[in-house]
Amino acid sequence: MKVKEKEKKENIPLTCGAVITQPGSTKKYKTGEWRTFIPIIDQEKCIKCGKCWMNCPDGAIFKTPEGKFMINYAYCKGCLICEKVCPVKAISHKVEEK
């Protein structure tokens, strides 16, 4: 019973033909808490090549106006592809503390 009530509460809008009229709604789902490992960028070592930014499957890495690459931890799932692709080993990881 509890599950059923929870489902009801989510209140899905039933548009005709299941059209999503507000695109980009995936942003509402914060996936950061899925993480086991947390990647960290060492800004000293970073050469600003942008490879991590291009390869992040969730678009969780962004570029600041100053040209720095940073991770949005609200969405980063901790897959560590960024660490793998970094040519200067500027990205490392540790276990997420929850």
């Binding site: 489902e7 899905i12 039933l14 005709c16 033909g17 299941a18 059209v19 999503i20 709604s25």
Partner: protein, 381 residues
């Protein structure tokens, strides 16, 4: 220009489509529907219709392109038959689930194997659960008229479901008979422009074909079911308005009862066979035998309430099924039986006319004799 002309059924359908002004025509020819894309491509070539014809590489692509066209928010059309419709199977529920009011013409033909190009209803009957409204036609005039009505029904804001207009391959598509061709102005007045609420637009982006979780999928399907029930009322309404504009009607748009007063026995048929049944019951009436005919036009939505009313005084109803649900008799018979569950009428099913086998007057008389003797239905070969 309005005129009555002897032309083929397929040409009649193509002219009706032209009058409805679809913008995209994704076409893949297959017998016996081929004359429809042939005629339409002639209209496009001559500039008689402002449409883009897409020569696709399969029926799967044809229905996918039809989906794409509707996603951009324009009226479109395609035609197919038999294996072509079967190849479309995967996309059919996507079109209806996306609530695109598409119209497709199906020239009913048997499914292989063994390979057959001739008529029966196994192609469209096999697709009756895909969320498409399915309307069948008895004559070429009815096919012409049903195409025009189909767009009105499909595009009604209360319905928004695709419509399959079915006509028997060869029996109708290749038959030449008089068709009243209507004026463009009259059709324009009857069928307003298509104005969808949702369509692909870069200035107002939307997501189509999204994922539904277990907590919403059923609700979307339930909405479809509600729309299909709404279609029952809408078909009746559109049929009335069509009669007002053009002076022709086919029962209430869903089903037609013929000669049912005083009749204890009746035959239920779908499509062109009803014409031959009409002749038989006329003959039998002259001999004093009261036999009725129920001409079922709408397979989906199935007009359950209308069927109950039409059958209320009947003892036995013989159903002609031009499709066999192998392992459980005729699919139409099973539908009719469940619709009339709890009524006093007994339903007997006769699988007939498979793969183009002619259902002639003799066979219909044989069927009537069988039900009048209170015997069980069988394969009427």
């Amino acid at each position: 220009m309005s005129e009555k002309k002897v032309i083929s059924g397929a040409e009649g359908v193509a002219i009706a489509v032209k009058l409805c002004k679809p913008k995209v025509l994704p076409m893949y020819p297959i017998t016996p529907s081929t004359l429809v894309p042939e005629k339409l491509s002639e209209f496009v070539f001559n500039g008689e219709i402002d449409s883009k014809m897409i020569h696709v590489e399969s029926e799967h692509s044809a229905i996918s392109a039809l989906y794409g066209a509707y996603a951009t928010g324009v009226r479109s059309f395609t035609a197919t038959a038999s294996q072509g419709l079967a190849l479309m199977h995967e996309i059919l529920p996507i079109v209806s689930g996306s609530r695109f009011p598409a119209v497709m013409f199906v020239a009913n033909r048997a499914l292989s194997g063994p390979l057959s190009i001739w008529n029966d209803h196994s192609d469209s009957m096999s697709e009756r659960d895909q969320g498409w409204i399915q309307l069948h036609c008895e004559s070429n005039q009815e096919a012409f008229d049903t195409i025009i009505m189909a767009y009105r029904i499909a595009e009604s804001k209360k319905v928004l479901l695709p419509v399959m207009v079915c006509a028997d391959g060869f029996y109708l598509t290749h038959a030449y008979e008089p068709i009243q061709i209507e004026d463009q102005e009259k059709v324009d007045a009857f069928l307003p422009d298509y104005t969808p609420e949702h369509y692909l637009d870069t200035t107002n982006p939307k997501t189509f074909g999204a994922f539904a979780q277990p907590n919403s999928y059923m609700e979307f399907k339930e909405e479809e079911e509600k729309a299909m029930r709404e279609a029952i009322r809408e078909i009746i309404k559109v049929s009335k308005e069509f009669d007002k504009s053009f002076g022709r009607k086919y029962g209430n748009g869903l089903v037609e009862g013929i000669n049912l007063e005083e009749a204890e026995y009746a035959v239920l048929g779908v499509g062109s066979v009803c014409g031959t049944i009409r002749e038989v019951i006329k003959e039998l009436n002259e001999q004093g035998k009261k036999i009725g005919l129920i001409k079922l036009k709408s397979i989906r939505p199935l007009p359950v309430e209308d069927l109950k009313i039409l059958c209320k005084d009947l003892k036995i109803l013989g159903v002609i099924d031009k499709h066999a649900s192998i392992g459980f008799g005729g699919a139409l018979t099973n539908d009719i039986r469940s619709a009339l569950m709890g009524e006093k009428v007994k339903v007997e099913g006769f699988v007939a006319g498979l793969g183009g086998r002619d259902i002639n007057k003799e066979k219909i008389k044989e069927l009537i004799n069988t039900i009048m003797k209170n015997k069980e239905g069988y394969w009427l070969k």
